[in-house]
Every structure is written in structure tokens, then in C-alpha cells.
């Protein structure tokens, strides 16, 4: 081609454009547009940083505040009391499993007698109900002053008799009773009347029978029964002493808090006085401030009173330990039913540890020092590794974050565990096997899930999923599943299921994208080598898309960790570390979560209190976790990108 054919470029054009260039308020319009877009993009970054700063500003004060609180907890002697009180609480669980063990052991012996007695009582009530009207009429007549005529009473009695007879005939008598017994009881029920003060003789006989059986059973397991009773009563004296000390400590704590509040008030008044110009007001403020002085609390004297009783406490502990050990030693080995045996084993296993704890408590009392300062490290540890989240307590608040974290983590894991296979398989199907029409149906439907308000899902969790799980857990052939039958309808599994549902759209869409991004050439190559569709999918496409799928799963996890409404409504909100000794059945326990606790409590606490600050600390941790999860997802996805290039 000849170069003269090329359209000629007008050389002057550049110059003209330059001349036309205008400025707005001294700025080049190009620059303004650039800044406009730049500003919009950076707003997101700035907001993120601001959120972080805000959270940290509210949250970091938690550490000094809580440190002060823990200091008071120590100085007022509450900690001293807890040294004994905490291990003593184990007694309750042990005692209750022993009690259950006793009833489980007695059960097979007394079961028949009890059931017969209860059935008889039930029948009596039913018979009385059926003849209630006549009965009432007679009762009223009898109470009337002056008493009605004898023939009137006789008529009423007759009425009642016929009604009672009819009722006793109409009742259904269970097969617990023999034919003769039924006949006998029927007659007695027909004769029921308000004028009889005694129970029908048949019922009396049955009660007596039950009592005998019960006595016999208790006799048979006398060892167990006495051991249980002894163990139950063992800590009574110790309890009394500890309660007394606790009351003292609490009093000390309150007076410390009061004087602290007064001091703060005084400080504020003085500051206000400094700033006012008006001399009158200044004088009055100063006067008020001077009045705002609490009496000096002599904590050392108060806690001395507590520590002075260390010896007494130790003797009591020793006494308790001795009787607990004695009770433990006298526990029998054989308790009949397997249920009872299991409970007994549990108690037997727990007892030595409990005794050990009590002994340690006794020595710990001696080494406890009231004036030992609370280190910052301990405060941090108390938050991050604390196993108790106790608020609004009349004794002492603790902000330990482990129970919330475990709740959140377990729920998130359940959700990811359920959602991952579903979304990935759905994505593989949609991407590789579905016809175009199926694709058109599946994709929008799954993506629509995202539009469901989470509070609606919460409803579903409470009203539907909870009941479903509970019903399933009672089906007899499903009893092999750990944790079945479940106690609570609202539990971590329920919340996990709903969160899984919420995570599916994210995971599905991103996984599908990842599969879509698998280079065409891989599929060609695999096909050309004679691979079947399934082989191509599982040996080439899925491995090539695995990083993308992984990143999808992580982003789904991020979504799940931050979700609030569903867990608040459905997770059961019990603030305790789930009992992992239940194995996989742990998922059917209720729990509370990081997000749920903030939503639930933030509205109710006073601004700036330690509780408020603790919630902000939880917020910081939550924020950090979310950032980390998202960062991981990005890192994985980046690896995927670089691999493809």
C-alpha cells in the first residue's frame, strides 16, 4: 500500500486542543475528575481506618478499667473467698450426678409399684372430675347453715352415687391391674364421696406397696444411698463459713466502690470550680466537693479479718475433704442398671479431682497476698483466656472471651462444614453438567437466598428447624447419632444449619466463577486424550479451580463469622464453653457468640463502663478475625491468579 493513501493527520490539531483547555477554579478538569474518582475510592479505605480507630479508642480503656476492677476484687477479699468457693462449686455437679445415680439404681425395683400407684391416683382424679357437678352440689349442701333437710341430702347423695358409679364404669383401667383389682377399685371409685376423708383403701394399699418397695430398694443399695446423703451434706459447714466471709468481702467491696465514686465526684466538682468565673458558684462547688468525701475505707483491716480465718477455713476444708473421701470410698461398685453405673462412674471419676482441687485451695489460701498488684498481662490474659463471661453480677463481673469465641468458631465450622459440599457440588453441577435452562433456574434461585433478611431466617430457625431437629433426634433408629436425643431446640447446630444456608450463595457463586475461569485449553486437552466428562471434571477442572474454590469457602466463612441476627435468635445464647467431652454431640448444645453478645448487651450497658469497653474489645477481635479471613481468601485467590498466568 502506498503511504499517500493514509488519512493525513492534521498537524495543527494538537495545538488547537491545547488552546481550548479550560480550567475550573484554577484546576484542570482532568485533574478534578481524577480526584473525584480517587476520593470515592479512598473513602472506603478511610472509613475502614476510622472504624478501626473508633473501636480501638473505645476498647483499649478496657484494660486499665478492668485492671482497677480486678484490683478491687483482690483487695476487698473477694478473690480470697473465690479460692474456696470455686472448687466448692464442683460439689454441686458431683452431688447431682450421685443423686441421679441413686434414682436410676432404685428405678427398676420401684418402677412397677410407682406406676401402679400413680395410675390409681390418676383414675381417682378422673372419676372425681366426671362426677364433679354432683359432688360439688353435695359439698355445698353439707356446708350450708343451717344444714338442709335429711331427705334433701339423701337425694343429693343418691345423685352422686349414680354419677360416680357411671364414671367408674366409663373409665379405662390399664393392664397394670389384675381383673380382681380392677373390680375392687371400680367399686371403691363408685363409692367416692366428699364425706369420706380417707383415700380409697385400694390406693392406700398401693401407696403402702410402693413405700415397701422403695424401702427395700434403698435397703438393697444402702451403701450408695448413705454415701450419697453423706456426700450431699458434707460441705454444709464449709458453705456456711464461706458464705459468711463472702458477705464480709462484698461489704468491703461496696464501701470501696462508694468511696471511689465519691472521690470521682469530688474531682469533677473541683474541676468545675476551677473553670467557673462566678465566685459564688465557685464557693458553692468547692463546698459541695468538700462534702463529697467518703470515710476512708481501711481495706487492710477488713481483709485482715478475712485472712485471720484462714486456719478455720483450712480445718473446715480438711473436714469436708475427709467426709467426701469417706463417701467416695463407701460407694459400691455394682448399682444394677447401666444408666446408674454410668452416672456412678462419672461421679467416681470426678471425685478425686475435686478433692485434689479442694486441697490445693487450702494451700492457696496461705499464699494469697492482698497487696500483690494485678499485672497488665494478667488483665489481658483474663480477657483472652478467661472462661467466664459474667455480667451484672452481685458478686464480681468477669469478661472472659473464650466461651463466646468457642461458640462463634463452632457455629462457623458447622456452617462451613455443611455449606461447602453443597455449594461446591452445586457449582460443579451447574458449571459442567447443567443444561442452559437448568443454569438459568439454579443460579438466580441460589443467588436469591442472599436477599432473604436474616431475621426471617432466624424465625425459621426458631419455629421450624428447631422443631425438626428435635423431632429427628427422638426417632429411635437415629439414636446412634451422638448427642441424640437433644435437649435444646435452639443450639449451635441449628444456627450452623441456617448460617450454612446463608453462606451457600457466596460460596456457590465464587466457586462457579472459579470453575469458569479454568482455562479452556485444559478441558480441550483432557477431552482430546479420551477422558470422560467425569474424569475431566474431577481430574482437571476441579484441581485447577481448587484455589478459587478454597477462597470461596473462606469468604463464605467470613460471611458466617460476622452474621449476627441468626445466631442471636437461634444459637440458644448460653454463655458457657460447650462441653466438648460430649464428642461430636457438642454441636447440639446452646452457645453464645461474639456477634450475638454485642448485639444483645450493647444497648443495655452504660456508656464507658467496663462492660461497655469489654464489648468493644470483643468488637475489635471480631473485626480482626474478619479481616484475617478475608485476607487469607485473597491470598489464596492471588496464588490462583499467578498460577494461571
Amino acid at each position: 500500500m502506498d503511504s499517500s493513501d493514509l488519512p493525513r493527520r492534521p498537524e495543527l490539531r494538537n495545538l488547537i486542543i491545547r488552546n481550548r483547555k479550560r480550567t475550573i477554579l484554577g484546576f484542570d478538569p482532568q485533574q478534578i475528575i481524577k480526584y473525584f474518582f480517587g476520593a470515592n475510592a479512598s473513602t472506603a479505605v478511610i472509613v475502614l481506618v476510622l472504624i478501626m480507630i473508633f473501636l480501638v479508642r473505645e476498647g483499649v480503656d478496657f484494660l486499665p478499667t478492668n485492671r482497677h476492677e480486678l484490683q478491687t476484687y483482690r483487695q476487698a477479699g473477694l478473690e480470697f473467698c473465690d479460692l474456696v468457693d470455686r472448687p466448692l462449686r464442683e460439689h454441686q455437679t458431683l452431688s447431682s450426678s450421685l443423686r441421679q445415680c441413686v434414682s436410676a439404681a432404685l428405678e427398676p425395683i420401684v418402677k412397677d409399684a410407682r406406676e401402679r400407684r400413680n395410675a390409681a391416683f390418676l383414675l381417682k382424679t378422673q372419676a372425681e372430675e366426671k362426677a364433679a357437678r354432683q359432688r360439688e352440689a353435695l359439698e355445698n349442701a353439707l356446708e350450708r347453715e343451717p344444714p338442709p333437710a335429711e331427705d334433701q341430702l339423701a337425694a343429693l347423695r343418691k345423685d352422686l352415687q349414680t354419677a360416680a358409679a357411671a364414671a367408674s364404669q366409663a373409665l379405662i383401667y390399664p393392664s397394670l391391674f389384675t381383673a380382681e383389682e380392677t373390680a375392687l377399685f371400680k367399686a371403691q371409685l363408685a363409692a367416692l364421696s366428699p364425706e369420706l376423708t380417707d383415700l380409697p383403701p385400694f390406693i392406700q394399699a398401693l401407696s403402702a406397696e410402693f413405700m415397701t418397695q422403695d424401702r427395700a430398694a434403698r435397703e438393697k443399695y444402702a451403701d450408695l444411698v448413705t454415701a450419697q446423703e453423706e456426700f450431699d451434706e458434707a460441705p454444709d459447714d464449709l458453705h456456711e463459713l464461706v458464705d459468711e466471709l463472702k458477705e464480709q468481702a462484698l461489704g468491703a467491696k461496696q464501701s470501696v466502690e462508694e468511696s471511689h465514686a465519691l472521690a470521682v465526684n469530688r474531682q469533677q466538682l473541683l474541676e468545675a470550680a476551677e473553670t467557673t468565673a462566678d465566685p459564688d458558684e465557685k464557693a458553692s462547688l468547692i463546698k459541695e466537693a468538700e462534702a463529697s468525701v467518703g470515710e476512708e475505707v481501711d481495706l487492710t483491716a477488713l481483709t485482715k479479718e478475712l485472712t485471720a480465718r484462714t486456719g478455720e477455713l483450712q480445718t473446715q476444708i480438711a473436714a469436708y475433704v475427709e467426709s467426701a473421701e469417706k463417701a467416695a470410698a463407701s460407694l459400691p461398685d455394682d448399682v444394677g442398671t447401666p444408666d446408674a453405673a454410668a452416672l456412678l462412674q462419672k461421679a467416681k471419676k470426678g471425685l478425686p479431682a475435686h478433692v485434689q482441687d479442694m486441697r490445693e485451695a487450702a494451700t492457696a489460701l496461705e499464699s494469697w497476698r492482698v497487696d500483690k498488684p494485678v499485672s497488665m498481662l494478667r488483665v489481658i490474659g483474663a480477657f483472652f483466656f478467661g472462661t467466664e463471661w459474667i455480667t451484672n453480677s452481685s458478686w464480681q463481673d468477669f469478661f472472659g472471651f473464650v466461651p463466646l469465641l468457642t461458640g462463634s468458631v463452632v457455629i462457623a465450622l458447622i456452617a462451613v462444614f455443611i455449606a461447602t459440599p453443597i455449594s461446591v457440588i452445586a457449582a460443579i453441577y451447574t458449571n459442567q453438567f447443567a443444561t442452559d435452562r437448568e443454569k438459568e433456574l439454579i443460579k438466580p434461585v441460589i443467588e436469591f437466598i442472599q436477599a432473604i433478611p436474616s431475621v426471617v431466617l432466624g424465625f425459621i430457625g426458631i419455629s421450624l428447624v428447631g422443631d425438626l431437629i428435635k423431632e429427628f433426634s427422638e426417632v429411635s433408629w437415629l439414636q446412634w447419632i451422638p448427642g441424640f436425643p437433644i435437649q435444646e431446640r435452639l443450639n449451635m447446630f441449628n444456627a450452623g444449619c441456617l448460617l450454612a444456608f446463608m453462606a451457600v450463595p457466596t460460596m456457590f457463586s465464587l466457586s462457579e466463577d472459579a470453575l469458569n475461569n479454568v482455562p479452556r485449553g485444559y478441558i480441550d486437552a483432557s477431552d482430546a486424550l479420551g477422558a470422560t466428562k467425569l474424569q475431566t471434571v474431577f481430574r482437571v477442572i476441579v484441581p485447577a479451580g481448587i484455589s478459587g474454590i478454597l477462597s470461596a469457602v473462606l469468604l463464605g466463612l467470613g460471611r458466617v463469622i460476622g452474621e449476627t441476627m441468626v445466631v442471636l435468635l437461634v444459637a440458644g445464647n448460653r454463655i458457657a464453653i460447650p462441653d466438648f467431652s460430649a464428642g461430636p454431640g457438642v454441636v447440639f448444645q446452646p452457645a453464645h457468640t461474639l456477634t450475638g453478645i454485642i448485639a444483645q448487651e450493647l444497648g443495655e450497658v452504660s456508656r464507658g463502663s467496663s462492660h461497655w469497653q469489654a464489648l468493644f474489645m470483643v468488637g475489635i477481635v471480631l473485626f480482626t478475625i474478619s479481616l484475617l479471613v478475608n485476607w487469607c481468601a485473597r491470598a489464596v485467590a492471588r496464588r490462583f491468579e499467578s498460577q494461571k498466568a
Binding site: Y522, D524, S526, D527, L529, G530, P543, A544
Partner: protein, 243 residues
């Protein structure tokens, strides 16, 4: 044979006898149906909706490949293919080469090892790569990747090897290596290669077919076609009057 993509006819009246254990080159202007013809031979067009052979048959070793009793995976095992753009899997070199055998059910490590070594030797990669068989195939150079794809295609010992512009994305040195390979390969395989590079066709092929607008204009020994083409169209094309 006729071949249609839906309503549009891409190939018309194709009749071609590809000689056994020779290199046959398909040449022709862009869009004339070379790739389509090639893809007919291993039925790669099957997954394109509406694409089908409308008249005539494709026979490999005398067997009509559209017969009901033909197993597609077996067919493709016998008819290997190398693509224009090298496309090794994001797996190790070893796994890439062994892939074809594995999907056909070979699990014996010794057999796999031997087949991988043979295939890599055949594609002149063995000496370069024998120490890093576990390395990712994506870390190889473009030329090595393409040779790896050839190794992958021949590892299953196909009878026919189809190559669609295997060198178009490569530098001259790599191209040379692959061309050298091709004459080697012809000893064991029947090779069909699509190329836009006339010199290459001359250098590597024994026979050449010239396609234009879905028809075979001329087919014969390469020397004949390039030295004295019978058709005017062929001559014009070879001279570069149209492209």
C-alpha cells in the same frame, strides 16, 4: 464427506486418504476449515451443539468413527491431538504425561514410569527434564510446554496424531525442534498437521492437502504441490496472492 455447524456448511465434499505413517500437511487460507477437518477425525466437534457430519463418513483404520459401537474414549486414545496454544495442566511434568494413561485405567507405577520416559524421549524432552519430573509443567518455556503436550498426546501410543498449528506461537528454535520431532514421529504415528507456514509444510510433510472454502482443492505429495501445483487456486495461494 460434508460437515455442518448448525445450518452453515463448513466442509463440503471432502475426500481424503491420509497415508499411513506419513506426515500430511493441511494448508489453506484462514477460515477454510482446516481445524474443523482435523477435529472431525477425533470427534472433538461433538460437544459443539449442532455440529455434525451430514454426508459421508470418517474412517480411522477402516472403521467409521460414527458407528454406534465406537467408544469415544477409545477413539481419542487412538487419535491424539496437539493444540495451537500449548496447554499443559497445572500439574507436575510427570503427571501431565501420565494423565492419558491414568484416565484409561493404568495404575501400575512401573508401566507409567516407562511410558512417561518413552514419551518424553520421543519428544526430545527427556534429557532436559529427567531430573525435574516433579516440577510444575507451567514453569517450562513455551517450546518445552508444547513438546510436553506432544509427549502427553503420544504417551497413550495413538495411531494418529493431529496437530493444529503446533508451532504458531513459538520461536524459531523451538519450531525447529518440533519440526525435527515430527519426522521422527512419522516413523511410529500417522501425523496430520495444520500449518500456515509454507516452508514448514515443505520441510516436514510428505503429503499436502490444500483447502479452500471447505473444499479440498488439491491433494498430493508435498513436492508436487509446491513445485508444480495443478490448480490455479493453489498456485495463487502459494505465491501469496491471497491469504
Amino acid at each position: 464427506m460434508d460437515f455442518c455447524y448448525g445450518a452453515s456448511r463448513a466442509l463440503e465434499d471432502i475426500s481424503l486418504d491420509v497415508p499411513y505413517h506419513r506426515v500430511t500437511a493441511l494448508i489453506g487460507p484462514s477460515g477454510c476449515g482446516k481445524s474443523t477437518l482435523l477435529r472431525c477425525i477425533n470427534r472433538m466437534n461433538d460437544r459443539v451443539p449442532g455440529a455434525r457430519v451430514t454426508r459421508g463418513q470418517v474412517r480411522v483404520k477402516g472403521k467409521n468413527i460414527h458407528d454406534a459401537d465406537v467408544d469415544l474414549t477409545q477413539l481419542r486414545k487412538q487419535v491424539g491431538m496437539v493444540f495451537q496454544k500449548s496447554n499443559p495442566f497445572a500439574k507436575s511434568i510427570y503427571d501431565n504425561v501420565a494423565y492419558g494413561l491414568r484416565i484409561h485405567g493404568e495404575k501400575n507405577k512401573a508401566v507409567l514410569d516407562e511410558a512417561v520416559e518413552r514419551a518424553l524421549r520421543h519428544s526430545a524432552l527427556w534429557d532436559e527434564l529427567k531430573d525435574r519430573l516433579g516440577a510444575s509443567a507451567l514453569a517450562l518455556s513455551g517450546g518445552q510446554q508444547q513438546r510436553l503436550c506432544i509427549a502427553r498426546a503420544i504417551a497413550t501410543l495413538p495411531d494418529v496424531l493431529l496437530m493444529d498449528e503446533p508451532c504458531s506461537a513459538l520461536d524459531p528454535i523451538s519450531t525447529l525442534k518440533i519440526e525435527e520431532l515430527m519426522s521422527q514421529l512419522a516413523r511410529e504415528f500417522t501425523v496430520i498437521i495444520v500449518t500456515h507456514n509454507m516452508q514448514q509444510a515443505v520441510r516436514v510433510s510428505d503429503f499436502t492437502a490444500f483447502l479452500h472454502l471447505g473444499k479440498i482443492i488439491e491433494f498430493g505429495p508435498t513436492e508436487d504441490i509446491f513445485t508444480n501445483p495443478r490448480e490455479k487456486l493453489t498456485e495463487d495461494y502459494l505465491r501469496g496472492i491471497f491469504s
